[in-house]
């Protein structure tokens, strides 16, 4: 939606001078065009995948994998297994909208809120994101720490590893390079699936859980609500919305790429769903063997518990998976924070810009990671509790972000013929209601217990 000269048709306007960001994006787009000309469908898909897979596998992060494993360890193979699949289907609806808005408008989520709805809403949305991302990033460093602890390495190494990784990926100053490095790392999320296979689960139990959503979780109601909210927050979160829209714009997706963008999103959700279920299945092996005490694992961690139960290989795979989950999420969540805050300030935000051209974007990427890294170095901080509550906080704040995606995706002036259909709107509104109810149920129940109104 061009606003440069509304009185002239776009093709009549003289071409503005190209910036280095334009040239970098144009190089990427030239490959896409050549792939289209040669009708290389798979190569075209390879070029266009990225934001969707990264958002989904990035959300299979440390706190999420801890939540899934805790679901399995406490309740076994039952309700939560198909529930994970259901939440990823919800994620597809939300993320497809973000991708579509990014591809059609070529602008990030923060920038669009700022320009269409004003500074107050933009800053509130960015403020929420900053809070949840900081807490989640602490959870990511916890995951790396839990993984490294299995190899007898401490918090200092975890903090250093995360920050160095952020600095390394930012050093290329090209979106394409950043995306491919993170995609390469994200493949190792599959380690959770290998771990699940190695614990030799009963396939009939898995089939029964998917077919019947049972056995239903029972016992402490508040703990069920906590894990329900944490599991939703493990699949659909504000940072994913910000990230996928901004990354789609940064990558240079156009309405012509919507089909591949949808495939990218669905592929990411399928992979993340399978790997997430893998973590739950591996965790279910701990059922009845101390798995009902999540906090009991804070010291030894799930990798050690699995190692004692199913052998060193499973423990090692799970520990490496935790390191990967934390590392990939540190990169994607830092990026989403960088995009969101820079866009809300009206500043340049692209991996195709130089450090000087996008100082706030790059600085925020590094600073949020460094702050979270510093927290895990503080002795006595309840890290596992932070990791699980990070997802709950994301669930509670999510409806606000989702309403803006929904408004943008229905903005005919922006989206033209790519506005939401009725079906998408019904599904998206149902998701907003479900997420709001789950978040509120846990928040209110916990609060009333805490102030001794409920027991």
């Amino acid at each position: 939606m061009s606003t440069a000269r509304p009185d002239l048709a776009p093709e009549d306007l003289p071409a503005p001078p190209l910036t280095s960001e334009d040239v970098a994006r144009s190089l990427d787009r030239s490959r896409v065009q050549r792939a289209r000309e040669r009708s290389s469908r798979w190569y075209l898909l390879w070029l266009l995948v990225g934001p969707g897979v990264l958002a989904m596998l990035g959300e299979n992060d440390g706190p999420s994998m801890i939540s899934y494993t805790a679901d399995g360890a406490i309740y076994g193979l039952g309700f939560f297994l198909p529930f994970i699949v259901l939440t990823f289907m919800m994620a597809i609806v939300c993320q497809e909208m973000s991708m579509r808005v990014g591809a059609v408008t070529h602008r990030g989520f923060g920038q669009l809120i700022l320009e269409r709805y004003g500074r107050s809403w933009a800053w509130l949305a960015a403020g929420d994101l900053l809070l949840t991302n900081l807490v989640t990033l602490i959870g990511e460093f916890v995951a790396i720490r839990v993984g490294l602890a299995y190899f007898h390495l401490g918090s200092g190494v975890a903090a250093l590893l995360g920050v160095v990784l952020v600095l390394f990926t930012l050093s290329g100053r090209r979106y394409w390079r950043w995306e491919r490095i993170v995609l390469g790392l994200a493949i190792f999320n599959g380690l959770f699936l290998v771990a699940a296979i190695l614990v030799k689960p009963h396939l009939e139990h898995i089939g029964h859980a998917f077919a019947t959503f049972s056995p239903l979780p029972h016992g402490n109601f508040n703990q069920i609500l906590l894990l329900l909210a944490a599991t939703i927050g493990a699949t659909v979160t504000p940072w994913m919305v910000f990230f996928q829209q901004s990354a789609s714009a940064d990558k240079g997706l156009t309405p012509r790429d919507l089909r591949q963008g949808r495939l990218d999103t669905i592929t990411g959700a399928v992979l993340a769903g399978i790997f997430g279920c893998g973590a739950l299945v591996a965790g279910a092996a701990l059922l009845g063997r101390g798995g009902n005490s999540v906090n009991g694992f804070a010291g030894a961690g799930f990798p050690s518990a699995l190692s004692h139960l199913a052998g060193g290989t499973v423990g090692t795979l799970f520990a490496l998976g935790m390191i990967e989950a934390g590392a990939v999420a540190i990169l994607t969540i830092s990026a989403s924070t960088g995009y969101a805050i820079s866009e809300s300030m009206g500043r340049g935000s692209s991996f195709n810009l130089s450090f000087r051209e996008a100082a706030p974007f790059y600085s925020i990427n590094v600073v949020v990671a460094a702050v979270a890294a510093a927290v895990i170095l503080i002795p006595g901080v309840p890290l596992l509790s932070i990791a699980i509550n990070a997802n709950v906080l994301a669930t509670v704040l999510l409806p606000f972000t989702l309403m803006f995606v929904l408004m943008l995706a229905n903005d005919r002036q922006l989206m033209g013929r790519w506005v939401n259909g009725v079906g998408t709107n019904v599904l998206a509104l149902a998701i907003v209601v479900l997420v709001s109810v789950c978040g509120a149920a846990y928040g209110i129940d916990s609060f009333l217990i805490q102030i001794h109104v409920l027991s």
Binding site: L18, H106, A440, I444
Partner: protein
């Protein structure tokens, strides 16, 4: 020679710009979009959701801190 360099640069830019849509160019993206007209009811609904989210968020944070 200088003219040739400029010509080459122009040709290069012309070639590069072909691969981007007009509104993908940085110059175009820097032009702010006009503000959306959201009605008073939509605005009120957004503020209600905002307050709801803040209250529940505060409850979650309070519970988390109290359990420390």
């Amino acid at each position: 020679m200088r003219q040739t360099d400029e010509q080459q640069r122009d040709e290069y830019e012309e070639e590069m710009v072909m691969f981007l849509e007009r509104d993908q160019l940085v110059a175009d993206r820097r032009q702010p979009l006009p503000p959306a007209n959201i009605g008073s009811r939509a605005e009120a609904a957004l503020w209600t959701l905002r307050i709801f989210v803040l209250i529940v968020g505060a409850m979650v944070i309070y519970t988390f801190c109290a359990k420390l």
